[in-house]
């Protein structure tokens, strides 16, 4: 009897923990107007990609191949890639064209807002597994292998890969704003 009670107690605890974890993941989802971001990028995509002199290599290729990335790793990968773009790519790129600079500023400030949202997640819900760390390290290594200006241009040109990945992995399943008391 005591063994059965203990077993049920452990099972219930595990269920509660897993439920809490899934709920916590939702707290680490970002809610951004992706249509505006994608529109901003589309306006400058052709110009940026035309400036890319190394057409045969990619920097964000691991994102395309990591179809099986676990939901628990989404927060960590997103946070690391946002930092990659804000700390390196946007700073390393010197854009003379004011129109393009305006669109890059829009994307950069949107990324900053996303990063602030993720920082509000508790650390335990945004833990970095070895797989997530490896994925972002590969991207960093790819970037460092190229000359800095070329790497920045290429990374900017591959923003559509990152935006598509965010769109796919951060779709909200509930609309908290719509749950209004009658």
């Amino acid at each position: 009897m005591k063994v059965q009670s203990a077993f049920l107690w452990i099972l219930g605890t595990l269920l509660i923990l897993s439920l809490g974890q899934s709920l916590g993941l939702r707290r680490c989802l970002i809610s951004v107007d992706m249509r505006h971001l994608e529109r901003s990028f589309q306006e400058i995509k052709r110009t940026l990609q035309n400036k890319d002199v190394f057409q045969n290599v990619t920097i964000l290729s691991t994102l395309q191949s990591l179809q099986g990335i676990k939901p628990i790793d989404v927060c960590c990968v997103t946070r690391n890639l946002l930092a990659f773009y804000m700390d390196k790519v946007f700073k390393d790129h010197q854009e003379p064209n004011p129109q393009i600079r305006r669109q890059i500023s829009s994307i950069a400030n949107s990324f900053l807002h996303m990063q602030k949202t993720l920082q509000q997640c508790e650390q335990r819900w945004c833990h970095c597994s070895q797989e997530a760390t490896n994925a972002t390290s590969i991207i960093q290594d790819n970037y460092d292998q190229l000359e800095v200006r070329a790497a920045a241009i290429k990374s900017l040109g591959e923003l559509d890969i990152f935006l598509a990945w965010i769109n796919k992995n951060h779709q909200e399943t509930s609309h908290a704003l719509h749950q209004v008391p009658v």
């Binding site: 829009s106 719509h178 209004v180």
Partner: protein, 315 residues
Amino acid sequence: MVLEGTWASLFTWVFCTLIPCSLTDPGAVVPAPQNLSVHSANMKHLLVWSPVILPGETVHYWVEYQGEYESLYMSHMWIPSSWCSPTPGPECDVTDDITATVPYRLRVRATSGPRASAWSALKPPFNRNSTLLLPPRMAVRKDGSHLVIELEDLGPQFEFFVTFWRKAPGAKEHAKVVSSVGFPVYLGAMEPGAVYCVKARALVRAIARRSAFSQAQCVEVQGEALPLGLALFAFVAFMLFLVALPVSIWKAGQLLRYSCCPMAILPDTLKITNPSQKPAPCRGEEKVDVCVMTDRDAPRRGLRHAELADLGEGP
């Protein structure tokens, strides 16, 4: 001599001090714009400031912005505003510049020809999540038995949360999220004879905020009296049709018969005035049982065979 030099110096000092130097110095400074503020409602942001007045001169204004990213990572970078580089009036629509939900620094300076003022900065920086969200304007109507709503177009960042209910005790409230505007949205079918009410609020996901609900608007659906009357009228008309149809057919038949095959008028010689009088027996061939009048002897047209047989009877 010394006194004359002193007077000259004093005169020069008075001249340069009391008379405004702008009249003589072409590189004089233009005053910087003052009282910068942002008026923001429904995600439309307008930067305004006090105008700079220079008599006889045309003043233009230049607006620049810097998002929080630029403030943190590249503080030297300011971006010219999309629509206000330059602008003639003391206001600037910065909606297309403020595109992220972070604090934005804004600054303005005035120019007159080659001369420019110092930059005036907006304090504190503006974040678009402070915009005033107003209850949306809507038009509610009925299309047949359907409840229809039309919402104002506030741009792609807006969605609308619409609730509607039947005005009756204990009635359940229904909800619908409307993303696209510009054309009517069908909410649902209405029961005849009932009153339905609708209200809506605006949602902006980019700033995770929503407006207050609009005032409820109600529409009334007509009851069943009219359809019942129509049904009764249709029944009576159908019954009349059922009666009138055979009568009409009979009458038409009558008309056709008399117009196509009119009855011939019997001559007086053939009329039997005395009922006891019988027609004379025929002479001639006795084998002939019935005396049939030929065309030569009697008008055959219109005479029925019964009449001809009667005339042939006799001893």
